[in-house]
């Protein structure tokens, strides 16, 4: 069954080339191509979830070379969770883009860049080779620089330039870390590096760990490295803001960070307090900066920093419960943050403004009932109101903090959640709750956009079922095991010798 693994990279690349080479100004054809590609990726990723539960780890040898020499693609629990998240969200994003991207010219170039970014993200998640990870990281990053500047207006170009400079410096830190690790271990296969290092705390390993932390931390926008995010995410078109916030900072940032630091270098104990401290400060600083914003997308971008803080806090705890909470929150955040960004795009599409103060007089609740409802659901999810998914994952993280004896962090996370609630009360108050007299010219969004937002808000409710242990064991259990027993990663190549 391991012949499915290269499809995760090959299919989006195929879609990108088809879009750029053969489609000329036929927007319907490129809609169709990207929809088919993302839907088939979704099906394959669901199959991969079942495969991982049955076999544990799958390895595909690219070109038939055995692991320490050739590049290998590795599918384990953590990869399959991330692949499922990326495929699910990207399917809804491409569905939403059918209507939304009509106002931009050259839709096929948009889809080309989007599918290239998707190929890069899937490649980062599935690869088992450290340098290959760098190549896919750069593929996804370069596509995202171009997508941030897609509108080619003043603000988009400025944000894109800032993002491109900071992110390419981060990539260079990663490359330097890879060079150091290669010179120390003489291998690039990730499992083989873990085997050679064997958990030693050599100075070279710790120094390259710091380099990796800086590089991937900037991609994940943890607090001292966050400066690019509030500019870059609001400037992109709404589907891309959703993809950047929901997927890119997780697959390029959080996933690569925990994979390299925990599994490959084995520095879990050393870096846990750093992850927790930076995660905790991200929670508070992100949410405090968000409250003051009046541009709805900028406000959501600051919330991304704060929610990534929760994920890092959970993963940094390192206990099974904390890691479960972190992974659960990663999945949930990608759903509700995507929904919120798509809704902000819907408001911009219909009402023509992103400023909360200008939305006041438009009586959006009467003219856009569905968007109003889905925004309410997503806001309650992100601020942790009981029946929705955000509540359960935050609850697990806070419980894990208490169980691990970190009362301060638990209290801190509760305060962050309350402040999140207050800032979303502000959003809802200004955008949907005001009544005005007179008729409004604002219309509800078109069909495909409606379908995407409605299904995502349904998922917000359904994914809280993952709190039940049966679903949670199937869906998050294997991923949790990868990070809890981080040392086992060094032995995965041995399944090929049987």
């Amino acid at each position: 069954m391991n012949h499915l693994l290269p499809l995760f990279v090959v299919l989006p690349l195929l879609g990108a080339f088809l879009n750029s080479l053969f489609v000329r100004k036929k927007a319907k054809v490129s809609d169709f191509i990207s929809l088919v590609i993302t839907f088939s990726l979704l099906i394959i990723s669901v199959i991969s979830l079942f495969l991982v539960n049955k076999y544990g780890v799958l390895i595909y040898k690219v070109g038939g070379w055995f692991p320490p020499f050739g590049i290998s693609l590795v599918l384990d629990g953590l990869s399959s969770l991330l692949l499922f998240t990326v495929s699910l969200i990207s399917f809804f994003i491409s569905l939403y883009s059918i209507n939304y991207m009509e106002k931009y010219t050259s839709k096929e170039r948009f889809y080309t860049l989007f599918l290239l970014m998707l190929a890069g993200m899937n490649g980062v998640v599935i690869t088992g080779d450290l340098f290959n990870l760098f190549v896919f990281l750069e593929l996804a990053s370069v596509a995202s620089y171009a997508l941030v500047a897609f509108g080619v207006e003043k603000e988009e170009l400025e944000a894109s330039f800032k993002y491109a400079i900071m992110s390419s410096v981060a990539s260079l830190f990663v490359l330097m870390g890879i060079g150091l690790i290669y010179s120390y271990t003489s291998t690039l296969n990730m499992a083989d590096i873990a085997k050679v290092l064997g958990g030693s705390l050599n100075k070279v390993v710790v120094f390259s760990g710091v380099l990796f932390f800086m590089g991937f931390g900037l991609k994940a926008a943890i607090i001292p490295f966050h400066a690019w995010l509030p500019d870059a995410h609001p400037s992109a078109p709404a589907p891309i803001s959703a993809a950047l916030s929901g997927l890119l900072i997780k697959s390029l940032g959080v996933y690569s960070l925990v994979r390299v630091i925990y599994n490959v270098l084995g520095l879990k104990i050393l870096f846990s307090p750093v992850c927790m401290f930076l995660g905790g400060s991200s929670i508070m600083i992100g949410v405090l900066l968000a409250i003051g914003q009046w541009d709805i997308k900028r406000l959501l971008a600051y919330h991304s920093i704060s929610q990534v803080g929760y994920i890092m806090l959970g993963l940094g705890l390192g206990t099974p419960l904390g890691i479960l909470g972190g992974l659960f929150h990663l999945f949930n955040h990608s759903i509700f943050k995507t929904l919120l960004f798509l809704n902000s795009g819907a408001i911009e599409y219909s009402a023509g403004t992103r400023n909360l103060l200008k939305m006041r007089g438009l009586s959006l609740r009467d003219s856009m009932p569905l968007t109003s409802l889905t925004t309410l659901i997503a806001s309650m999810s992100i601020s942790g109101i009981p029946p929705f998914n955000g509540f359960f994952s935050k609850l697990i993280i806070i419980f894990a903090c208490i169980k691990g004896g970190f009362w301060g962090y638990a209290f801190w996370a509760v305060i962050g959640s309350i402040l999140t609630l207050s800032s979303f009360m502000k959003v809802y108050r200004y955008s949907f709750s005001t009544q005005t007299q007179g008729t409004s010219s604002v219309r509800e969004i078109p069909l495909f956009m409606k379908f995407a937002t409605a299904s995502l808000s349904l998922l917000c409710v359904l994914s809280s079922l993952l709190f039940l242990s049966g679903f949670s064991n199937f869906f998050l259990g294997t991923a949790k095991k990868v990070l809890v027993d981080a040392k086992n990663y060094s032995t995965i190549n041995s399944i090929l010798e049987r």
Binding site: F131, E158, F161, I165, S168, V169
Partner: protein, 112 residues
Amino acid sequence: MRVYFLCFLLFAVGLYCILRKRNLIKIIIGTIICEYAVNLFLILIAYRMEGRAPIYSSGQNIENMVDPLPQALVLTSIVIGLAVTALLVALAIRIYDKYKTFDITKINQLKG
């Protein structure tokens, strides 16, 4: 050891250029300097004292060769660097069209 130190110094020069310069083109040149420092570092890792080119032919012993793998990595990294630099320069040209300046203190639409 001194060579590695100089290599890190070159990286620091590039970082200084990115952080302190106010002209967009100079910032791009700073990223290029950083990139070359990292490429140089990878090549230095592969270097063996008095090594020869890693070409295998029959009748020769596989000894005293430089490590060929980082050379392949550097080739890939140069190509990636080319793509990033081309994109950055294209962005800088577009920014000049819109703002009529390369000075980053005057390009400040985004705040807060």
